[in-house]
Symmetry: C2
Subunit: 213 residues, 2 copies
């Protein structure tokens, strides 16, 4: 298989939610605390939002580092791109990430409400209203032979899993329950019949699941 | 720190030996069984000697893959290069690796018995009779800004540790005792005062130690 569709550094709660309920501009993860969900990665040397040099070079750093390796395009759902719902009122919103988005590739945002493509630094956002398989085909072409990363959220990853299009997944299960929100799964063992899996429990209470096929 | 000196995929027995006693052409690891020592890596997709496609994409594959990332030169001891001792009888021996050595960079072989440099495919072997710090300086220059990998054997890694020149180490401790041979350490905790460490026990009985500072 030459071009994989990969999920990396995707965090869910112990009950399988990738984000809480009630996403808004102020709360991109709804009632979930993103600091708690992403705490496994904050201390690593490769964490892109580090403000100081240094950081851990342990196992978590190996996992964080995979995020960019050989990735030529990203696919994300509209709720990862922004908190708006329905038709765009204007095109001022350009994502959560400021002038230097951490993608550095074409990004395909899945939405029923199209708008023109635009670029920020070396990231270009395209808006597509299509089925997962068709979006993946566009992303593969844009990736010029490299892999495609599936960025989330949970509903988007779920849609590609249901279409059996995902080749590898790294999911970190956080030691916290959310109870409601956007759900990836009831339990990781839902994927055991379709994927090989490596389960890596860690001292910080997170468990990393590496799936491949 | 811009150019790290890194140890990767270095295996020792539970009692700290990197190779057994009695290295020879037929037994590069002496009385140790290299198949047993390296078994943790054989099943991974990134294992360089794979003859079939596929392989695991779990945690071990992440570790194996680090071997080449951003490496611009390698340093090794003469006993990693070959089984001969003392002056070279001739220069026919060009290493264990055939026409395509897995290094793809300049390699600095530490020996008191110099011989001319030579190239095989995209690997060039240089022979140097110098102290660790001086050899590292040469390797850093040859690496053109990339990191330098310290390839072993145990005595060579030990020499660079004693000179406090090693920045990161990945050591896999195998579930096997060797009793004698070339020793890296009595116990990994000898390094705990100088390094941060992440200890990762695995279902196959190996424990991976990731050291950094």
């Amino acid at each position: 298989m030459s071009q994989l569709l990969r999920v990396h550094n995707f965090v869910v709660s112990s009950d399988g939610y990738g984000a809480g309920e009630g996403q808004s501009l102020e709360s991109p993860f709804g009632h979930a605390d993103p600091g708690q969900l992403m705490s496994w990665a904050f201390g690593t040397a490769s964490w892109p939002n580090r403000t100081e040099p240094g950081g851990s070079l342990g196992l978590e750093d190996h996992l964080v580092r995979e995020f960019h390796r050989n990735v030529g395009a990203e696919i994300m759902g509209r709720n990862k791109f922004g908190p708006q719902r329905g038709p765009w009122v204007d095109h001022e919103w350009v994502g959560w990430w400021g002038d230097e988005p951490p993608f550095h590739t074409p990004v395909f945002v899945m939405t029923h409400h199209l708008r023109p493509s635009f670029s920020l630094s070396d990231t270009t956002f395209h808006f597509v209203d299509d089925e997962p398989a068709a979006v993946l085909q566009q992303a593969r072409t844009a990736a010029h032979g490299k892999d495609v990363r599936l960025g989330g959220g949970a509903a988007t990853v779920r849609a590609f899993l249901d279409a059996d299009l995902v080749d590898t997944l790294h999911v970190a299960v956080a030691p916290v329950e959310l109870g409601r929100g956007s759900r990836l799964w009831t339990s990781p063992d839902e994927l055991y019949d379709r994927y090989e899996v490596d389960v890596v429990p860690r001292p910080d209470g997170f468990t990393h699941y590496l799936f491949w096929r």
